[in-house]
Point group: C2
Chain length 418, copies 2
C-alpha cells in the first residue's frame, strides 16, 4: 500500500522545526510493506492545503496529514478539510470530554482556545487523541482515506502506533502476510558489506526485499517479505536469516531494530554489569545516549566529562607526565581515562574518548577528526585510533557510536569490533 | 522571493534519514526576505523527479533540489534534469579536476563511480562543489532558475552559504534592502509574550514583520524589514528595537540568533569564568550542548554525570542523610550537586539537575517530568522546581535548556530567570 504524507505548518517552512513525523510514519508503516510515495510540506494556508490534499488523494489510496491543528490555527486545516470532504463544523461532546480529560491530566485549566478543539467537520469520524487536545479526523472519499493527525511528534507517534495504523490496516486488509527482520551490522562500510552480500542478495526470492539503512558506524539491514503463503514466507525468512548469519554473523550485533546504546544496555543488563564513561571530545554525548534509554539506571552509574587536562589528572588519575609527553589525544591517556573512571565510579566496565572535534585544535600530526577510543571490561582494555570526516557535530556523533560498539565488541567477544 | 525545495532520495521516504536540508535553506534565506513556499520529498525515480520539478517551476521563480546525486544514483536525477532542461550528458574536465582534488584531500583513491560524477547535462552551468564530489548544477528556463545541490547536509550548507545563495541574490537583485534582528527571549510562554507585545505589534509599520520562533524554554523573536528606502528601514528597525527592549528587555538574553549554550559561553568568556555541570536526569546532555560549541575549552572544565546515588555522595559530596531524607529529586540535593561539582572541578560556577525523565520512576508526589534545577556562581546558589510535559527526550531537552538559562540569569543579574 502506498501513502502520501502532508506536513502542515508555517514553522516547518522557516527552519524552526524539522519535520520528523514523516520519518516516524515511514518507520511505523514500512515493516508491514506500506511505503510513503511522497511527502509535501506546506504552510498553514487554506489554498495550499486544498491543493496538496487534492493531489495526494489522486496519487495514493491513503493520505496522512500532520499538524495544522493547534488551538490557534485549527480553523484553517479543519475548515479546509470540511470544504474538501463536505459537511459543516459541529460541536462534538465526546471530543470536549476528551479535551477536558487531557487538560486535567496535565494539571492545566481549560481556556476558550482549547475548548474550540471540540469543533470538527461533520464529514469525519473522530479518533479520540488520548495524549493531546487536537482530535484525529478520519475522512473517506471514493474508497480513499485521509487521516488528519496532530503535529506534536509524541502525540502523532503514540496515536499512529496505537490506533490509526491498526485501523488503516484493518480497513485495507488484504490476504497478504508481511514478515520483516532487522540486523544491526557493525564494523563494515556499506560498500564492503554490499560486496560480501553480493551472492546472498542474488539468491533472495521474489517477494522478499533487502534494504541497507546506514548510519555512521553501523548499517541496519532489513529483510521484508510479503506473500499470500504464510508458511512459505516464514520458511524463506528463516533460511535467509541462517544464510545471512553464515556470511556476516560475526558482525551482526543485534537481530532487532535497536541503536547501539540500547544494544549495549541489553548486554550489560543480561551480564549484570555496570558501566561508566570518561569523555573528552564527545563531551558527554555517550552519557547522553546511554541515559536516553529508559531503565538505564539498572546498569549506568555515571560519567566524568574531563574536558580540561586537570580533570583528567585529578579525577581520572591520568598520569601528568604521560599527558605532558604524549598529549591528551593519545593511546596511553585514553586507556588511563577508561580505567580511571571504572575505578573511580566502581563499575565493571567503561569507555573513554579523547580527540579533536574541531574546527580548531588540529595539527599536521593530529588533524581535526583524530579520536582515540578505549573500552575496558573484566581487567582488559582495548584502544584504537580513528580519523573521522565531517564537521564538529559529525565527529562527536561518529566517535560516540564507535565507542558504544567497541564496548559491545569487548563484552560479546567480537574482537573485530574492538 | 518565494522558492520551492525538492528533496530527492529513497532514504528520506523510509525514515532512515530526516530531511534537515530544507530547514537549513529556510534559515539561510529567510533573513533576506526569501521564503520557502513548499517542500516536496520524493524518491530517486525519474518520473517523480520530472513531475515535481515541473510543478515547482510553475509555482515559484527559484527551485532548489537537494540529493539524488550520489555516485551510485546520479544518473537518475542528472538524466531527469537533462531531459527536462534539454541538452545531453557531457564529460566536464573542470568537474573531473575538482572531484580528484576533493578525493585527494580526503585521502581516498578515485574509483569509476566517483569519476562518473564528471558527467553533467550540457544545459547547466556547473558550480564546483569544493567540499564534495557531486557537482552543483544551475539551470535556467523562462527566466526561472533551478539549482541542483548535493544531499549531504554539511556540503549543502557550506555551498549554499558560500556560493549558491550569493549567486541567486545577485541573479534576482532588486532595489530592495533587507534588514533583520533576532532577540532571544527567555522566561515567557508564547502566549504571555504575545500578550505583552500586543501594542508593540500593532504599531509595526508595513514592510516590517515580527515572527515568533519558540523552542522549549526560549522564544526567538525575529524582526524582518524589506524596503527600497535604506535609511527609513534602518531608522525603523532602530526604533522598534528600542521599543521592544523597553517592553521585554529584561527577558531578552541575547540580540543575536544564538542558542542558550552559546549565549552562556559568550557570557562566561567575557566574565573570565569557568563552568562545570552535575547532571542526574539530563544524563550529560547539558555537557553535550556546552561542548557542541566550538572553542568551549576556554570556559568549560568538565562534568560529573551522577546517575547513581553513590556517585552523588562520593564524587559530589552530597550528604547521604539528606539524600535518604528528601530523596535524590529534591532541592537540598540539587543544590549540593551544583556546589559540589564547582568545588570538585574548581570552577567559578556550575549547574545541576535532578529529576524524573520517565517513563518509569514517577510517584504521586513526584510525577514523571518533575525536575529540580540549581545554578551556582560567586558564592550564591539558586534553585527551582519544574514540571515538564512530554516524553523522556522532551523532559531531558527542556530541563537542559532551563538549566542553561538559569545560569545565564544568575550571571547577568536577571533574577526573573533564576
Amino acid at each position: 500500500m502506498e501513502i502520501s504524507v502532508i506536513a502542515i505548518g508555517d514553522e516547518l517552512l522557516i527552519g524552526q522545526v524539522v519535520d520528523t513525523n514523516s520519518g516516524t510514519i515511514a518507520r511505523e508503516l514500512n515493516p508491514d510493506g506500506w511505503t510513503i510515495k511522497s511527502v509535501r510540506i506546506i504552510a498553514d494556508n487554506a489554498g495550499e492545503i486544498r491543493k496538496a490534499v487534492d493531489m495526494a488523494m489522486s496519487e495514493t489510496d491513503v493520505v496522512i496529514t500532520t499538524g495544522g491543528l493547534g488551538p490557534t490555527k485549527d480553523d484553517i486545516t479543519k475548515q479546509a478539510l470540511a470544504n474538501y470532504f463536505g459537511g459543516e463544523m459541529i460541536y462534538d461532546k465526546d471530543v470536549e470530554k476528551n479535551v477536558l480529560e487531557v487538560v486535567r491530566k496535565r494539571g492545566l485549566k481549560i481556556n476558550p482556545l482549547t475548548a474550540a478543539q471540540a469543533y470538527v467537520p461533520s464529514s469525519c469520524k473522530v479518533i479520540q487523541n488520548r495524549v493531546g487536545t487536537a482530535p484525529i479526523m478520519w475522512f473517506e472519499k471514493n474508497g480513499k482515506v485521509l487521516v488528519a493527525m496532530p503535529g506534536v511528534p509524541f502525540e502523532m507517534e503514540e496515536m499512529l502506533h496505537s490506533e490509526v495504523f491498526p485501523l488503516l490496516k484493518r480497513h485495507f486488509a488484504k490476504d497478504e502476510f508481511v514478515e520483516h527482520r532487522t540486523f544491526i551490522v557493525a564494523g563494515y562500510s556499506e560498500s564492503v558489506l554490499a560486496g560480501k552480500l553480493e551472492i546472498f542478495e542474488r539468491e533472495i526470492p521474489k517477494g522478499i526485499h533487502l534494504a541497507y539503512l546506514p548510519k555512521p558506524g553501523i548499517i541496519r539491514l532489513r529483510l521484508t517479505g510479503i506473500s499470500r503463503d504464510r508458511d512459505w514466507l516464514a520458511e524463506q525468512m528463516r533460511q535467509l536469516t541462517v544464510r545471512l548469519e553464515s556470511v556476516v554473523g560475526e558482525n551482526i550485533i543485534c537481530e532487532e531494530d535497536k541503536m547501539p546504546a540500547e544494544i549495549l544496555g541489553d548486554i550489560l543488563r543480561r551480564q549484570g554489569l555496570t558501566v561508566a564513561t570518561a569523555e573528552s571530545c564527545t563531551g558527554g554525548n555517550i552519557a547522553h545516549e546511554i541515559t536516553a534509554v529508559a531503565g538505564c539506571s539498572d546498569y549506568y552509574k555515571g560519567s566524568v566529562v574531563s574536558y580540561a587536562n586537570e580533570v583528567k589528572i585529578r579525577q581520572l588519575g591520568v598520569d601528568a607526565s604521560v599527558l605532558e609527553r604524549d598529549g591528551a589525544v593519545s593511546e596511553p591517556v585514553v586507556r588511563q581515562m577508561a580505567e580511571g573512571v571504572a575505578s573511580l565510579l566502581q563499575t565493571d566496565c567503561a569507555v573513554a574518548t579523547s580527540g579533536i572535534a574541531g574546527p580548531g585544535g588540529g595539527t599536521p600530526d593530529k588533524p581535526v577528526g583524530t579520536v582515540w577510543i578505549a573500552a575496558t571490561a573484566g581487567g582488559r582494555t582495548v584502544s584504537r585510533l580513528y580519523r573521522f570526516a565531517g564537521n564538529r557535530q559529525r565527529v562527536i556523533n561518529h566517535a560516540t557510536m564507535i565507542a558504544e560498539i567497541m564496548l559491545i565488541g569487548l563484552l560479546s567477544g567480537r574482537e573485530q569490533l574492538c
